[in-house]
């Protein structure tokens, strides 16, 4: 419940302030969003599994975002930014899908 409230507050804050992303960081924002999405779904699955832990969630969230952005940044510097971001999105997408599948099993027992 409090998590849903937090999400709502975050969206409202984002809409209210419309923070400007620095131009240099702009390419890494979508990757960061996908990585955080992975962490959020992982946390939700862990919650449903009954093994949710605040600390693990926070650490996984931050590290996911930072590592994904760092990988893409490194790829940009090496000239393979597009390919690396594709790889990151593929891996994160697979994780998101399997996590969502587990969540679905929990919610619908199917």
């Amino acid at each position: 419940m409090i998590a849903a409230l937090g999400l709502l507050v975050g969206i409202l804050l984002g809409l209210w302030f419309r923070p400007d992303v620095p131009l240099g960081l702009e390419p890494y924002l979508p990757i960061a969003v996908v990585a955080s999405l992975d962490a959020v779904f992982g946390g939700l699955r862990a919650y449903l599994d009954g093994i949710f832990d605040d600390k693990v969630f926070v650490v996984s969230f931050i590290s996911n975002v930072v590592i994904a952005a760092a990988i893409v940044y490194l790829g940009d510097k090496l000239g393979v930014g597009g390919q690396l971001s594709t790889g990151v999105i593929v891996v994160l997408g697979i994780r998101i899908f399997s996590n969502v599948a587990a969540i679905r099993r929990h919610l619908f027992h199917a």
Partner: protein, 293 residues
Amino acid sequence: MPEHLSRPEAQQLPERVTMPLLTLITQQSLDEDYLHVAERQAAGAPRPPRVRPHRTAAVVIAVFGILVTTAAVQTSRNADITDASRASLVSQIGDRRATVSDLQDRIVRLRESNVGLEQQLNQVTSTEQDAASRVTRLETVAGYVPVTGEGVRIVVDDAPNGDATQAVRDEDLAKLVDGLWSAGAEAIAINGYRLTVLSAIRNVNVAIHVNSRPLTPPYTVEAIGDTRTLQANLLDSTLGSEFFSLAEQLGFVYSMHNVDELSLPAARFPRLRSVQAGTSADQKTHMDEETNP
């Protein structure tokens, strides 16, 4: 690698090393840390005191919400710019396509004009060749240039008895020369004097003058022409046969034989006083006349 060697090593390695990548990603989609923490708690580790449950998580979720919203806002804000740049690119593509088709049209036009110019060039070239051959022909006929070629040399002398009535006269030589012209000779010289269209052969007293220059016997008539037909044609022609019958009657000493290479000098040219250069229209009519002399 042989099977029996790799088997024990594979058993020693942890599962995450040997597992295929996709399987690994799918199976470990949930962070292992949750499991570790859960196992530790199940083993009896003291649960950390939780005063405000999940508050941190809520803050992080809020951050996530900000992140997502920012990304969405950013994307929608950039949509206008992206559209504008795409539209400008599309219009640029249209412009360039028009330019390309213009250039292709120009290529076609230039190719057509190229073809036309080539035809003109061919015409001009053939005209030029005609003119060049005409110049050569005229130069030969007019004695403008020295010429060489195979031909016939005819040597004629007065009868040996010295009778003045049996001497070679202008009309005899003129008959011979006219016979040679009609037999197909292209250039003729008598005693080294080139005959042209203006040349005259006439007697002044006993001496024969060619181009107003006196000649002394024997008279050497050199004619350039086809050696295979020139002599026969000469004998066939009216004037030629007249000359030879005359020579037989009057007892001229004459000989005629083919020469592989004759060299005839250029003619001397009279000074032109009244002639003026004609127009191209005159040239046209004269050309037709020259083809059938």
